[in-house]
Point group: C2
Chain length 67, copies 2
């Protein structure tokens, strides 16, 4: 499944890595691609293995807000 999350507060390449890394560590995430300028993350995942809540929590644990 593909979904685009809107994430606030990502400002630099380190932020990009932090969010991408936190998502891709989750079981069930195939890929996470951050678009800094758009404040979005495109996520490809197996909805049987990972929930949107888990993705949101992983991003928020890094200090960013999911809109």
């Amino acid at each position: 499944m593909e979904k685009t999350l809107e994430v606030k507060g990502m400002t630099c390449g380190h932020c990009e890595k932090a969010v991408k890394g936190a998502l891709e560590e989750l079981n069930g995430i195939d890929s996470a691609n951050v678009h800094l300028e758009q404040n979005t993350v495109d996520v490809s995942y197996d909805e049987a293995k990972v929930s949107e809540k888990e993705m949101k929590d992983a991003i928020e644990d890094q200090g960013y807000d999911v809109v």
Copy 2:
């Protein structure tokens, strides 16, 4: 010796850590404190051991510009 460097492009806590860490790894740096809002870094150092050029290079290696 104390000096305030003006650094462009630091936007978040990760940037702060990257610049502070790169400076404090240099021999001769006592402390480096980043002020994100002011785009500055206060450095305390031993001018016999480390040059401004070395500090500037360390910051630029992290992807930031020293003004």
